[in-house]
């Protein structure tokens, strides 16, 4: 007998809303949700997509140096983001604009690092949304450490709804190959930490397809680490919400980590510097367009929930107003001053760096008409 048997078949996706907008039930993931709540999720999806499109446009206009679009991944992000409770902590990569939205981070704040006016620019504890992390997978270990603190603070398994805390760690199919992600799995499993690992498998790590990263479906990796893994239709906001809620609940109650693979598609380029026509076929994009995360919710709202045109018209207006606000705010984001790199390097400034700063200030002031 060969040791190498058949690779298991690809599993069915957990789905609660089909691409055609038909509400379906899943025996393991019941979701009680009102049409008003679905309408609210739809609004999130539309506004996130509008913001994202505006940011891409701002890059094209030279207002941003770079943008990493979340086009196509709105449901995966909003579903996860709306499953968080106010005390939960989230650790994004650099593409979780939809999660930021759910955590009430002003979209303009996110633009700072892409415009080149900051290297991060917010306090992770203000909105329980960590700084964007560009080195792939590094943040999953930060999530693990944070969760260690949560456990030590007695904020797991107390049974108090507003106290028990989960940590949601985002990463992608590419980062799943990183050592840090695998270490994070090991740590979370060994200490039974309240972390939900949320992998948006958007099929592409820049030009490398997911087949370059793994010969098994990514969610199956969890079993080797000793915790459950599930694959959810990442373009189905209801399924993402239901699965995330369940995993976060289990984390808060002390049952330990879960890996969620949100199976989705990066409909845009990796970033505005990328050219996906060099490595993938238009057919693939067209296939995924039919699974669009927003259209299916709209179809449901129109056909099943009786939501009228007035709502969509008013949401269009809200979207345009948001885009306009972002556009204006982005253009007026001030450049940092030439001495700002010296700020906050240390909590306890060193004489050495203070001296460098003073020397550079003197140099700048030595120019005629210098106004520093």
């Amino acid at each position: 007998m060969s040791l190498h048997g058949q690779v298991p078949p690809e599993p069915d996706l957990i789905q609660l809303l089909t691409p055609e907008g038909i509400r379906v039930e899943h025996p393991d993931f019941p979701l009680e949700i009102t049409d008003d709540e679905i309408t609210s999720l739809y609004r999130d999806l539309v506004l996130v997509r509008r913001f994202d499109a505006e940011a891409t446009a701002l890059q094209r206009q030279g207002e941003l140096g770079l943008w990493a679009s979340c086009l196509g991944q709105e449901a995966a992000q909003v579903g996860a983001g709306r499953a968080l409770r106010s005390q939960d902590m989230s650790f994004p990569t650099y593409r979780e604009h939809g999660v930021a939205w759910c955590q009430d981070v002003d979209p303009v704040t996110l633009l700072g690092m892409f415009r080149g006016v900051s290297l991060g620019g917010w306090n992770p504890n203000d909105n329980n949304f960590n700084l964007y992390t560009i080195v792939l997978g590094a943040q999953t270990l930060h999530a693990v450490g944070y969760a260690m603190g949560v456990v030590r603070d007695g904020a797991v398994g107390s049974g108090e709804k507003d106290r028990d805390t989960a940590v949601l760690a985002f990463f992608g199919d590419g980062a799943s190959s990183q050592g840090d992600v695998n270490e994070a799995f090991i740590w979370a499993a060994a200490a039974n930490l309240p972390v939900v690992f949320y992998c948006q498998n958007n099929q592409w790590a820049i030009s490398e397809s997911v087949e370059r990263q793994s010969r098994v479906p990514l969610f199956q990796r969890a079993s080797g680490f000793g915790f459950p893994g599930v694959r959810v239709d990442g373009n189905d906001v209801l399924a993402c919400l239901a699965v995330s809620r369940r995993a976060l609940d289990e984390a808060r109650s002390g049952q330990g980590p879960t890996l969620i693979e949100a199976y989705t598609y990066r409909m845009g380029a990796h970033t505005t510097s990328d050219d996906p026509t060099r490595y993938r076929l238009t057919d693939e994009l067209e296939t995924w367009r039919l699974r669009d995360p927003i259209e299916r919710v709209r179809a449901y709202l129109v056909r099943e929930a009786g939501v009228g045109q007035d709502f969509f018209d008013s949401l269009d207006a809200e979207s345009e107003a948001l885009a306009e606000r972002i556009r204006e705010a982005c253009r007026t984001l001030a450049d940092p001053g030439p001495l700002s790199p010296f700020d906050h390097v240390y909590a306890e400034q060193t004489d050495e760096l203070a001296g460098q700063r003073a020397g550079y200030a003197d140099y700048l002031n030595s120019f005629e008409g210098a106004g520093h």
Partner: protein
């Protein structure tokens, strides 16, 4: 005042800070029941519990990465890296994440993380157990890098490092762990980043740190027998560097030899030489010389004593400086 080994002094500092602040955690490999491979954390888990003295899964990136997350949550972790040559898997977490986080958060999240690293050679170890990686970290903005040379500094500098709201890379000269010295735990310590003149002299300045301070002092005693008075400076802080203390000494002696175990190219000696010639050019009577490891891998242990800077190599450099 009591006499103790550097290992005991480090243990005492950890114990002191853990008693003072419940947010101080110790984490690393084998730091629990075993007390660390060098026994620096001996007895701490027994007294403070597995919650605060954490035997980590075996992954250095995980040790530092989770320390970053703990710091975001308000903790003050002290990480032990088992040996110098094992710190590299944590390099990204140290230089890209830990060092930059306070800056990236616009000063709103502090990273009071101490990373203890036993370093240097001279113990007859196999490869990757005798390295001196301090320059990598001293090159990185956002980190502070210090190293002790005696039990008293070990005690006070570790306490100060744990109290510091910035990440501190704390290098411990492992071959000096068992040397004893006086420690006054009621003293008022010197500032963490201040260099110390540990032997005054007028003819030439020797700058050393960590394991090489004792060797430099031996060299100065030998030179004295030949009639040369060497001033020995224990640098103590590698980032930031107390340049003033070194410059003042060179202005007096006119000659400088920098000693460290690390390879000389782009090492701490290069930086110190650059600073001194910028600030004390007209005081110099001779070129600044460096005595350090060669630009080779750290050698097999049977010949490490020949490879490492010793009294004779230091005196050879001093002779060249004096006779210039």
């Amino acid at each position: 005042m009591s006499t103790m080994s550097m290992a005991a002094a480090l243990n005492g500092a950890l114990r002191n800070r853990m008693e003072a602040d419940p947010k101080v955690l110790v984490m690393g490999l084998d730091v629990g029941k075993l007390g660390g491979v060098f026994r620096i954390t001996d007895g701490l888990q027994k007294d403070f519990g597995e919650d605060r003295v954490i035997d980590a899964p075996l992954g250095e990136s995980g040790i530092v990465g989770s320390a970053v997350g703990l710091a975001i949550r308000g903790y003050r972790p002290v990480c032990e890296i088992q040996f110098d040559g094992f710190v590299y898997p944590a390099f990204d977490q140290i230089v890209c994440q830990l060092a930059k986080f306070h800056n990236r958060s616009l000063g709103q999240v502090k990273m009071p993380v101490t990373i203890r690293i036993p370093y240097g050679g001279g113990i007859g170890a196999v490869e990757h157990h005798s390295e001196s990686p301090e320059a990598y970290f001293a090159h990185t903005a956002g980190l502070k890098v210090v190293t002790c040379s005696n039990p008293s500094d070990a005690y006070w500098m570790l306490r100060q490092s744990i109290d510091c709201d910035d990440p501190v890379i704390f290098f411990e000269p492992k071959r000096r762990y068992w040397a004893k010295g006086d420690v006054d735990t009621d003293a008022t310590p010197a500032a963490l980043h201040k260099a110390h003149v540990v032997r005054p002299g007028r003819d030439a300045t020797l700058v050393a740190y960590g394991p090489m301070v004792a060797t430099a002092l031996d060299a100065a005693r030998a030179a004295a027998e030949d009639g040369s008075e060497l001033e020995v400076i224990d640098l103590r802080s590698l980032s930031p560097i107390d340049t003033d203390t070194v410059v003042e000494s060179v202005q007096k002696t006119g000659r400088l030899v920098v000693v460290h175990e690390a390879s000389v190219t782009l090492g701490m000696g290069a930086e110190i030489a650059a600073r001194v010639q910028e600030r004390a050019f007209y005081s110099l009577e001779a070129p600044i010389l460096r005595v350090g490891g060669f630009d080779t891998p750290y050698p097999a242990s049977r010949i490490e004593e020949e490879w490492l800077p010793d009294v004779d190599r230091i005196l050879d450099a001093v002779d060249r400086a004096l006779s210039y």
